[in-house]
Subunit: 304 residues, 2 copies
């Protein structure tokens, strides 16, 4: 019997839940606003119960906003920890879903979920090392290293590496409340608005904001390439809907690296090195489905 | 019969070769200056032939300066590629050693070798995720992710992430010929000398150079923590012989992160999070021995 999986994309403003086996086979899907934890998790559980009466789910995956506790040995494993989102700090999430639905439950960051979805079905298929960055209200990154997701001590926080301010930046100190001129403080949607007084989607294409934005993205990618040496970088998130950014970011990343990283993937195929997500806006919920598949595989390995 | 391994630490100024099984059991060791590739590799091969007549080596490991080609599918696998070191560009290294000595040969960067040595016998024992940085004539980094060395597209070049210059820096543009104010251009031994006109070892302990050096190290570690989320960071290399840097770097790294990464390993045990190499100057050659062990294991897995 074919296995059905459940995916939960848990965002700060909305939840997306889906049942299926992959991008071409979604049997049911819903979305609703993120309100209180009690109400939101209750709606999530109700969706999966209603839609899996006949076809029992084999596993569920959660790709969530954070920060989160991903350490399986921790008593707070599966929690959303100290989040600025009102009401959600110290919310037990994965264990509640697992207990209520009675199936193996995968749990990871939204960006690691998207990275895994792109690896299984999208722009990182067949690669062992890749990075997925979302450039939107915040900036976050997920990474695949030697074919597996990177967690480490907690999980990456790629939006918070420090960037050198460039001359002519109207707000060189950035707007991250923690770090000022970090990547997120210099290049997120709110950082763009703080610099130029207009929301990103209202900035015309020939506005100098975009040249500066491409510059900061390039310097950040330069750093990520030097630390992680990915085989491909996928750029998603609302700001990257400005698709004219891609050629500028590619050109400026090469200029910033100054030929130091000698590999044809960069030197002659940069248009296939820095790319948009193949799954588009569906990377999140499909990533959650991929996390569900992995949770089942991992459960099987442990019990065999 | 106990297995003996050979280790080659190939540096830009000297080679160190050793035969043994680990830090407490080195049967023979030698070092000689790095001259031409032909002469240097001939001395290397002669050392292992002379000292392994009775006890045949099971494998050899090479931890080398670079850049190098680590892709086993590449026709230039095991080469030193485009290095500024005269005479060494496009030198076939691993294949020559493997052919001449007739044993499985591991090949990696000097810093990945040191990372592996510290994982097997030193400061990263029992960890799955760690970083080894050398701060000396150059700056380089090796990383362990999910228990395995990180290679990716080529290998990390952690010394070349860009850093924001700080006010009061006498040379805010840095001295890296490729990137100016990258980590290496701001904080290597030669960068210190370019800023202050004195070699690092001649700068007195109360010189303002050290406060600024600790600042740049901290901002770079902040970035590496945000991208790789290591469980521990090991700082080696000549500049770190100034051991008074460690407490300053720890304090400034916490200040730079501003409490954003919530984990007790950082918040309350930073003195065990940013540490010197437990193997000290022997991390390199012992790392090469560890690479030899892994080369044998990997050969066995492939043939079983």
């Amino acid at each position: 019997m074919e296995k059905l999986f459940g995916g939960i994309e848990a965002g700060g403003t909305k939840f997306v839940c889906a049942i299926g086996t992959g991008p071409d086979d979604i049997r049911a899907e819903t979305q609703f606003p993120t309100t209180s934890p009690d109400e939101t998790l209750a709606r999530t559980i109700a969706f999966f119960r209603t839609h899996s009466v006949d076809e029992r789910l084999a596993a569920v995956g959660i790709a969530t906003f954070g920060p989160v506790d991903l350490n399986p040995q921790s008593e707070h494993y599966g929690f959303i920890t100290d989040t600025p989102k009102p009401g959600w700090s110290q919310t037990s999430f994965a264990k509640v879903i697992e207990a209520e639905l009675g199936v193996p439950t995968g749990f990871d960051t939204d960006v690691n979920g998207a990275m895994l979805g792109e690896h299984r079905w999208g722009a990182a298929q067949g690669l062992e090392n890749a990075v997925y960055l979302t450039i939107g209200t915040g900036i976050g990154g997920g990474a695949l290293v030697n074919g597996r997701l990177l967690h480490g001590l907690i999980h990456p926080e790629m939006g918070h590496v420090m960037l050198p301010p460039r001359e002519g930046d109207p707000k060189p100190d950035g707007n991250c409340p923690f770090h000022g001129n970090c990547f997120e403080g210099m290049a997120s949607g709110p950082a763009l608005e703080a610099k130029w007084g207009l929301r990103a989607e209202h900035l015309p294409r020939d506005h100098p904001a975009w040249e500066l934005e491409a510059h900061y993205l390039a310097v950040a990618l330069h750093g990520i390439i030097c630390v992680l040496s990915p085989q491909r970088i996928i750029l998603g998130g609302g700001v990257m809907n400005q698709t004219h950014l891609f050629p500028q970011v590619r050109k400026k990343t090469l200029e910033s690296l100054q030929g130091y990283v000698q590999h044809q993937a960069l030197l002659s195929r940069i248009d296939r090195y820095i790319v948009p997500p193949a799954l588009g806006k569906r990377a999140g919920v499909l990533g959650a489905l991929a996390l569900a598949q992995d949770a089942l595989d991992s459960r099987r390995r442990r019990s065999s």
